[in-house]
């Protein structure tokens, strides 16, 4: 056991990294000479002593001494170790030049994973599962230390402690010096943290770090109390840990470069946290089941977020719909908020109240608010316009995002604006720059939205013939314009408006169309399969069109498109090109927006059918009110955009062209 262990501890870090890609257990291959020679003695000693300690008094150790205990639980299942050791040789890769990179990369991703997992594990059970999976995939010591796959909370906690402890040496490699001691930290939170990657750790606040150090010190003391032998080993371990980081930090920084997998937010971690945090708008795709991030986001949030009662299992990662209206709360804050420009604030409130809805309307409102804000903006002393204004815009964006999650089209518009700010010539004076930006925004609105709509109308009208029956779902501004224009042209056609609860937006459209004298039929989405056989064309709007041709649109669109496809009715999606996005999405789960769960449980004005009145607080009831869904490209015959009528397969081409445009405008 001893030799094995020695080698194991030595190779730990490498195991972890290499384990991802090297299945054949080629035992004969021994590691590169230098790491062995340097690190073998310490870890070997550590492990053996740990084993000794373990056998002598396991329970107290696990409770008290950090480093000692962290080692001990791992020791308990010897067979696992052996299996571990069999795996271990693998890590020493014949490919020494490659190793470093791959190592660091996998470490990064692994840690990142772990981080998510652990922080989310208390709540999300399916993440635990995923953890189990990751664990299985990687023949890491950590993996071996999860006996049952770590499915329940306690198991996770228990195992996470030993995992980090066990690997003291190995983990340390990727972590800063102080880290090992931290492992012993008694607080749960800290137990979670050590498993995280280094950048995240660095982002912990001062207070947290102090707490950690405190804990470490206590742990050390405890370890000393354990016995001189043990303390020696721990110190040895620590020493080795301290020795290694110098080597190991390099790969981890490399990782930061190479592995963007680790998400952009992590990168920011190298800089001072406070400043960065202010700048860093919450990513639109923040995972809301990641507790620590949610906490952080909340702390700097203007809008007070309240927790939804029963989150639907599969949709925990989405921003949950806030209960109650924050309007009064926010309105009262109106005069205290200097960071947010009043116009932006107004738009945010309008988003919350639902006064502005619809992709184009929201985007235009936002851009105009930014225009106003830029007009009133003046660069503070000792700051440059490009940087400060970007920060300002970021804070506005994060405010708006809190009011209602940004749509993809808004994201594109913001990207455009930031791009323009960044590309401002340095020679411009402030007023010139501001005028420049305002006219840019103006141009974006007029060219990319208003003019684009006109072009779309022009194209789409050619597809309407006399005698057609056109079906539409919900209320899309582009579709409305098309229908009205076709009517103006004197085409004889009929419109079927399919609508769905809870928003019943179709009624608004119906009202406007009937007002203009079109002949309309109104049906609920339940009747779509009945009505579809008489339809000749389906016109749909879209919130966004993604790179694989998936149409991301108001919930119910996918259903209508599917039925239309089944009836062989052509489905035309009308969408401005500024709403295209290079992302790919296969389902409606990864990215979506949640609406008010009450809206689907209650029917206003129908007291007699409010059957759910009593049960909405029940633990067993989870209400899911999705706002969007994703329509697979198979169901879409054509996408009408300002670049003409294209098949859904050509969206990436437009995205390419358009992104180039974005820089140009």
């Amino acid at each position: 056991m001893d030799p094995r262990r020695a080698s194991r501890t030595v190779s730990d870090p490498k195991i972890r990294q290499v384990g991802f890609f090297a299945p054949p257990p080629d035992r004969s291959f021994s590691g590169p000479p230098d790491p062995i020679s340097t690190s073998t003695p310490n870890p070997a000693a550590a492990t053996t002593t740990a084993a000794a300690a373990n056998t002598s008094s396991p329970p107290p150790i696990s409770d008290l001494s950090p480093s000692g205990n962290s080692l001990s639980p791992v020791m308990i299942p010897p067979p696992r170790h052996s299996s571990d050791t069999t795996h271990r040789p693998v890590p020493f890769p014949p490919v020494s030049p490659l190793r470093r990179d791959t190592l660091s990369l996998t470490v990064g991703s692994y840690n990142n994973n772990n981080n998510n997992i652990i922080s989310s594990s208390p709540t999300a059970s399916f993440y635990d599962e995923s953890k189990g999976i990751t664990v299985k995939v990687s023949p890491t010591p950590a993996a071996s230390s999860f006996p049952g796959g770590g499915f329940d909370l306690t198991a996770v906690k228990a195992s996470s402690v030993p995992a980090s402890g066990l690997t003291t040496v190995s983990v340390v490699k990727t972590l800063p010096p102080g880290f090992t001691e931290k492992v012993g930290g008694s607080v749960e939170m800290q137990n979670d943290l050590p498993a995280n990657s280094k950048p995240l750790k660095e982002r912990t606040s001062k207070a947290e770090r102090r707490a950690l150090q405190e804990a470490q010190r206590a742990a050390k003391a405890a370890a000393k109390a354990e016995g001189s032998k043990l303390s020696a080993t721990t110190s040895g371990a620590v020493a080795s840990a301290n020795a290694k980081p110098t080597k190991a930090t390099k790969p981890s920084s490399q990782k930061n470069d190479s592995a963007t997998v680790a998400s952009s937010e992590k990168k920011g971690g190298d800089r001072p946290p406070e400043k960065d945090r202010k700048k860093d708008a919450p990513h639109p795709r923040m995972q809301y089941d990641d507790k620590s991030r949610v906490e952080k986001a909340k702390r700097r949030a203007v809008v007070k977020q309240t927790e939804a009662r029963n989150r639907v299992e599969l949709f925990r990662h989405l921003p949950q719909y806030e209960h109650g209206t924050q309007l009064p709360d926010l309105e009262s804050k109106f005069f205290q908020l200097d960071p947010v420009h009043p116009v932006v604030y107004k738009v945010g409130l309008q988003y919350i109240s639902g006064d502005i809805s619809g992709g184009n309307a929201r985007c235009i409102a936002m851009l105009q608010a930014f225009q106003e804000a830029i007009k009133d903006y003046s660069t503070p002393d000792e700051k440059t316009l490009t940087r400060d204004l970007t920060a300002k815009i970021n804070s506005y964006v994060s405010f708006l995002n809190e009011c209602r999650p940004l749509s993809i089209s808004m994201g594109n518009a913001i990207r455009f604006l930031k791009n323009r700010i960044a590309k401002l010539p340095l020679t411009l004076s402030e007023s010139e720059a501001k005028a420049f930006l305002q006219s840019d925004i103006e141009q974006f609105i007029s060219e990319k939205i208003i003019l684009a709509d006109k072009v779309i109308v022009k194209h789409a009208v050619t597809k309407i013939r006399d005698g057609d029956v056109l079906l539409t779902h919900g209320s899309s501004s582009a579709v409305e314009m098309i229908l009205l224009h076709a009517h103006e042209l004197g085409k004889q056609f009929r419109v079927v408006i399919v609508d769905s609860r809870p928003k019943l937006e179709g009624q608004l459209l119906l009202r406007r169309l009937v007002g203009k004298g079109l002949s309309c039929t109104y049906a609920n989405i339940n009747a779509v399969s009945y009505i579809m056989h008489e339809v000749t064309r389906v016109f749909l709007g879209a919130s966004s069109v993604l790179s694989n041709g998936t149409v991301y649109s108001r919930v119910g669109t996918a259903c209508v498109a599917m039925v239309a496809h089944e009836f062989r009715v052509p489905v035309l999606v009308c969408c401005e090109a500024y709403k295209f996005h290079e992302r790919v999405q296969l389902d409606s789960i990864c990215s979506n927006e949640l609406g008010d769960p009450d809206a689907i449980s209650k029917v206003p004005g129908r007291e007699d059918i409010n059957y759910l009145d009593g049960c909405t607080n029940s633990e067993n009831l989870q209400l899911l009110n999705l706002i969007y869904d994703a329509t697979p490209s198979d169901y879409v015959s054509m996408i009408v955009t300002d670049y003409g009528m294209v098949p859904p397969t050509s969206v990436p081409v437009i995205v390419r062209e358009y992104c180039r445009d974005q820089v140009w405008i």
């Binding site: 597809k463 013939r465 064309r537 052509p570 035309l572 015959s637 054509m638 670049y643 003409g644 009528m645 294209v646 098949p647 397969t649 050509s650 081409v653 437009i654 062209e657």
Partner: protein
């Protein structure tokens, strides 16, 4: 499948000389009536005895009686075909009656359409090329002194060409392409007028060359897809497809071809004549026998009047049903089309295009109350096509739109 088996190929190689003798002895390629016997024999032999690995007419008396029996019908068809061929000697894909065929436009009163028709009559010239040549002639004849004037003149000419025949896709596409070049070439704005003008003319000339080369390129590209012993179903008369098959025959590939009859203008008969001249075993089918023969077919080869934005094609009536049958039997459908046939059109369904009408002769008088569907072409959606052979390369249907976007945006 016997025609794919190695033994068939070997046998065929052994037999190569006798059939050649027969063919050469029995054939004067000029006359159709002489041409028909070998052709019918090869096709009917295949029909009569598809499991006979040696296509030798001497073997089976049964075959001979059969051939003699059916030859009556066939020769009748071929007579009709001959008449049809005689009627339009060099018909371009869109069977338009040649209205204004005054060969030489008199100097001053220059007319694009006349010019176009002039060019169109050349046997190997595609419509798009003819259109571009006609536009080049406009430039030559033009008395404009500035680029703007010339552009306006060109625009007018191309509009009148397009409106003269709204149904022809390649004509429209050719005009659009050239106009695109005129308006887009930034170099034109900086040069002096005369050099810009000559540049345009040069470009137009080049376009003709490119289009001729395109057929060669397509033929070369498609050779990889024609394997020894395969059976190819063709529909309509497409010069590109003919080039493809001709090249394959020259490369000593062993394959046979099924030609649909191509009612009402009997394009299939013409095509089979051309193939028979090349000694390719060819078999004629009536248009409704496609599904019946599809299980013998290895691939479907069609040309295209136009390739539209969705990646689908607009082609002679009947292409769609062939593609449907082929799709349902998992046979590949290959389209050979030059890139100047790519058009910025997006039909959603069959009725969503300008119909190209043509007279159909049923041989008997049709009561006036009976309606006749006279559309000459249909639209095949991209999901039923396997690959497109173009001079840009072998493309999947979805790439067409990419190319179009890059061309026109």
């Amino acid at each position: 499948m016997w025609w794919r088996s190695a033994s068939f190929i070997l046998d065929h190689r052994l037999q190569e000389d006798p059939p050649n003798d027969i063919a050469s002895s029995s054939k004067e390629p000029d006359t159709l009536s002489k041409l028909s016997p070998p052709q019918t024999h090869s096709s009917f032999m295949a029909a009569a005895d598809p499991f006979n690995p040696i296509p030798n007419p001497k073997i089976s008396a049964y075959y001979q009686t059969r051939a003699a029996h059916t030859a009556v019908v066939t020769s009748d068809w071929l007579a009709q075909a001959q008449a049809a061929v005689g009627h339009h000697p060099d018909d371009s894909p869109a069977p338009q009656t040649q209205l204004l065929a005054s060969p030489s436009a008199s100097g001053k009163s220059f007319c694009v359409i006349n010019e176009f028709n002039n060019w169109r009559k050349q046997p190997d010239l595609a419509e798009a090329v003819a259109a571009i040549r006609a536009l080049a002639a406009v430039i030559r004849a033009s008395e404009a002194t500035t680029m703007m004037e010339l552009e306006i003149e060109l625009k007018k000419a191309s509009d009148s060409l397009k409106s003269w025949d709204t149904t022809s896709i390649s004509l429209t596409a050719g005009c659009d392409l050239f106009m695109r070049y005129v308006t887009r070439t930034s170099a034109l704005e900086y040069e002096d007028f005369n050099s810009a003008r000559s540049r345009l003319i040069e470009r137009a000339e080049k376009f003709g060359e490119i289009s001729c080369k395109a057929r060669r390129i397509i033929a070369m590209l498609s050779q990889d897809f024609i394997f020894d012993g395969c059976t190819i179903l063709v529909h309509g008369f497409s010069r590109v497809v003919l080039e493809v098959l001709k090249t394959a025959a020259q490369n000593k590939k062993l394959f046979r071809v099924f030609c649909t009859e191509g009612r009402p203008d009997r394009t299939g008969l013409r095509f089979s004549n051309e193939l028979a001249k090349l000694d390719v075993p060819v078999k004629l089918l009536i248009d409704s026998a496609v599904a019946y023969t599809m299980d013998e077919v290895d691939m479907v080869f069609v040309g295209a009047d136009g390739v539209v934005e969705s990646g689908g094609i607009i082609n002679m009536m009947g292409t769609y049903q062939i593609a449907l049958v082929a799709h349902s039997m998992n046979k590949p459908v290959y389209v050979a089309a030059e890139s100047y046939k790519f058009a910025r059109l997006y039909p959603l369904d069959q009725k969503d295009m300008a119909p190209a009408l043509r007279p159909i002769d049923f041989g008997v008088p049709i009561p006036s109350k009976v309606e006749v569907e006279r559309s000459a072409r249909d639209y095949t959606p991209p999901q039923y096509l396997t690959l497109l052979f173009t001079d840009l390369g072998v493309l999947t249907p979805s790439v067409v739109s990419d190319e179009l976007i890059q061309l026109y945006l």
